[in-house]
């Protein structure tokens, strides 16, 4: 068992080392996040000028939502997105090399991705902590229970995001095209996950559609837990929903993997 864990941890370690080297794109990622926050802050300040709250969201809530959701996006945006990795490997035919190794393909990609994310996770945590200390408007969860549930929720979100990205990657097997799928996925996820606008602010009629899709569970659910907008019972339900989506997407992912790997056309005679 230990030996099996070592395999995957080895992959994680390598990617972590490699990600430290990409300092420049790192910094520019942070700058772009700060810019996004500044823009959204300006917009929402205007929105809240004549109102105290929208659908139960006050100014302070919105501000906190903004900062926490952007921090999560730092982690989830996956600069070295799994789908980029996978499609790159297909294009270069390196997929063959990965298939030679005695490791489970999806699990290996997951740990590599985790290795890439480690730096981002560190930054995101730092970011949230700093905001908590510096800004009086920033709402900090009051109970340890909330924090723990928040962390659990983020873990589930990470996995959900990973499976969606991996499947997008396998789809490039079929279309032999990366950018189209990547941008489509990014747009869908950004919009439906609550990253841009909290789901609660959408009209009732639209919200029920969202609740049947996995995307809101990526950003919206964890942030709502952070804001302590849910009762304990509601938290439990939301976490369970996340869990279910995670398992569904995992199975879906394995199926897409099997179907696409059988069809890969690797060049060379």
């Amino acid at each position: 068992m230990r030996k099996k864990a070592d395999k995957y941890l080895g992959l994680l370690w390598i990617r972590m080392r490699a990600s430290v080297q990409y300092r420049f794109s790192f910094v520019s990622g942070i700058i772009s996040t700060l810019l996004q926050i500044a823009i959204q802050y300006a917009i929402w300040t205007q929105v809240f000028k004549n109102r105290v709250s929208i659908n139960g969201f006050e100014r302070a809530d919105m501000f906190t939502y903004l900062l926490v959701s952007q921090s999560l996006l730092i982690i989830f945006s996956f600069r070295n997105a799994p789908e980029r990795m996978i499609s790159q490997k297909i294009k270069q035919g390196d997929i063959a090399l990965e298939l030679i190794h005695p490791v489970q393909f999806t699990l290996a990609r997951f740990f590599e991705n985790l290795g890439d994310s480690v730096m981002n996770i560190g930054i995101a945590i730092l970011f949230v902590v700093v905001c908590g200390c510096v800004f009086p408007d920033f709402i900090v969860p009051k109970s340890i229970g909330s924090v723990l549930m928040f962390l659990l929720s983020v873990c589930f979100s990470y996995l959900i995001m990973f499976f969606i990205s991996a499947m997008a990657g396998y789809l490039t097997f079929f279309t032999m095209n990366f950018w189209g799928i990547y941008n489509a996925k990014k747009a869908i996820v950004d919009f439906l996950s609550g990253a841009l606008i909290p789901i609660a602010l959408f009209p009732e009629s639209v919200r029920w559609i969202f609740s049947y899709l996995p995307f809101q569970n990526i950003v919206y659910t964890p942030v709502m837990i952070f804001l302590e907008k849910y009762t304990m019972r509601e938290c439990g339900v939301q976490l369970l929903i996340q869990c279910i989506w995670m398992i569904v997407l995992m199975c879906l992912n394995e199926w897409v993997y099997k179907v696409s790997v059988r069809r890969i056309s690797v060049n060379g005679g």
Binding site: K3, K4, D6, K7, L9, G10, L11, I14, R17, A18, Q21, Q92, G93, D94, I95, A96, L97, L99, I100, H101, P102, V103, Q104, R262, I264, S265, V266, G268, G269
Partner: protein
């Protein structure tokens, strides 16, 4: 049961064909594309025993790499059966991976930014190699392939020759039963080629590792392969030993003379009552020497009659041999 058994193996690829050319073609392609079936492998049958050294030959696009990819579990056959050490490679990919090692000549399996030693350590973890075995193998291959100097350097800093040696060691590290080599000496200088071949021969001798070698380098095949399988258009056209291959195709060689004076005209030649084919372009004179004729004798005869500045002997390229065999 043989170590590798292949039965009626087929592989088809579905290729998109664009309709027409130019702007109209581009627009048409947006809406519908024809699918064409390419049969890359059309029914292969063979068995390989443990410890054999097999050369896989054939022109580019013959289906060699496709077959290797099916043997290693990367591609799934369209039809037919494969059994490698009792396993079906595409179904039991991970288990099969533990029994095999692969060297792709044009790609490295090592991690680009890491020192070689670190790549090896990661492979140790991946293949769950015992520390004792690992240490022994590292020592053995470092010595055999003379890798001491660059084990600490990142792979991207290595020359092609150095990188190939590392890839070879990496493939052997976990003591696999079978090694697949896809163009292992491509682009290498003569010293590197020799070293690689020595290593392969040694390891096959000592550990009874089955070696399957895909190459266009005839010297590789001559020095390493006991058995040769020639594939063309997805079918097996020859399966036997090297001697048989040479007998089936009586090799002729080209002898190229550089005459001192371009104005001298060659007027034909007979040796052992055979007319020798020839071609002259200014001062370059090319004679096609059949296998039965001694090149040495012929050279001295020509030099006696004509003012020769320089001589060189050219071996026939392997593609010609393959083509010759296929056409028979």
């Amino acid at each position: 049961m043989s170590q590798i058994v292949v039965n009626d193996l087929h592989k088809d690829f579905y290729v998109n064909v664009s309709k027409g050319s130019g702007v109209t073609g581009m627009v048409k392609s947006l809406f519908s594309r024809e699918k064409k079936t390419v049969e890359a492998v059309k029914g292969l049958d063979f068995k390989i025993e443990e410890g054999e050294m097999v050369g896989f030959l054939g022109p580019n696009g013959a289906g060699k790499s496709t077959t290797i990819k099916m043997l290693t579990g990367i591609l799934t056959p369209s039809n037919g059966e494969i059994s490698v050490c009792g396993l079906t490679p595409c179904k039991k990919r991970q288990q099969n991976a533990k029994n095999i090692g692969v060297v792709f000549g044009q790609r490295t399996q090592l991690w680009w930014d890491l020192p070689v030693k670190e790549s090896f350590l990661l492979l140790k973890k991946m293949y769950e190699i015992e520390t004792g075995t690992y240490e022994d193998n590292i020592a053995y291959f470092t010595d055999l392939l003379d890798m001491e100097d660059f084990l600490d350097r990142p792979v991207r800093q290595l020359s092609l020759g150095q990188r190939m040696r590392c890839d070879l060691a990496a493939a052997f590290l976990h003591n696999p039963k079978i090694i697949y080599l896809d163009e292992p000496t491509i682009g290498l200088d003569i010293t590197s080629k020799k070293r690689i071949r020595e290593c392969i021969k040694e390891t096959n001798r000592k550990r009874k590792t089955t070696i399957i070698l895909t190459t266009h380098d005839m010297a590789d095949v001559e020095q390493l392969a006991d058995r040769v399988m020639v594939i063309n258009h997805g079918k097996m056209v020859y399966d036997g030993d090297m001697a048989g291959l040479q007998q089936q195709y009586r090799r002729s060689r080209n002898v190229v003379f550089t005459l001192k004076d371009s104005r001298v005209a060659f007027t034909g030649f007979r040796m052992d009552n055979q007319r020798i084919e020839w071609q002259q372009r200014a001062e370059e004179l090319i004679l096609k020497v059949p296998a039965s004729v001694s090149a040495g004798e012929m050279i001295s005869l020509v030099m006696a009659q004509y003012p020769v500045e320089d001589v060189r002997i050219e071996e026939t390229p392997i593609e010609d041999i393959i083509e010759e065999i296929y056409n028979q």
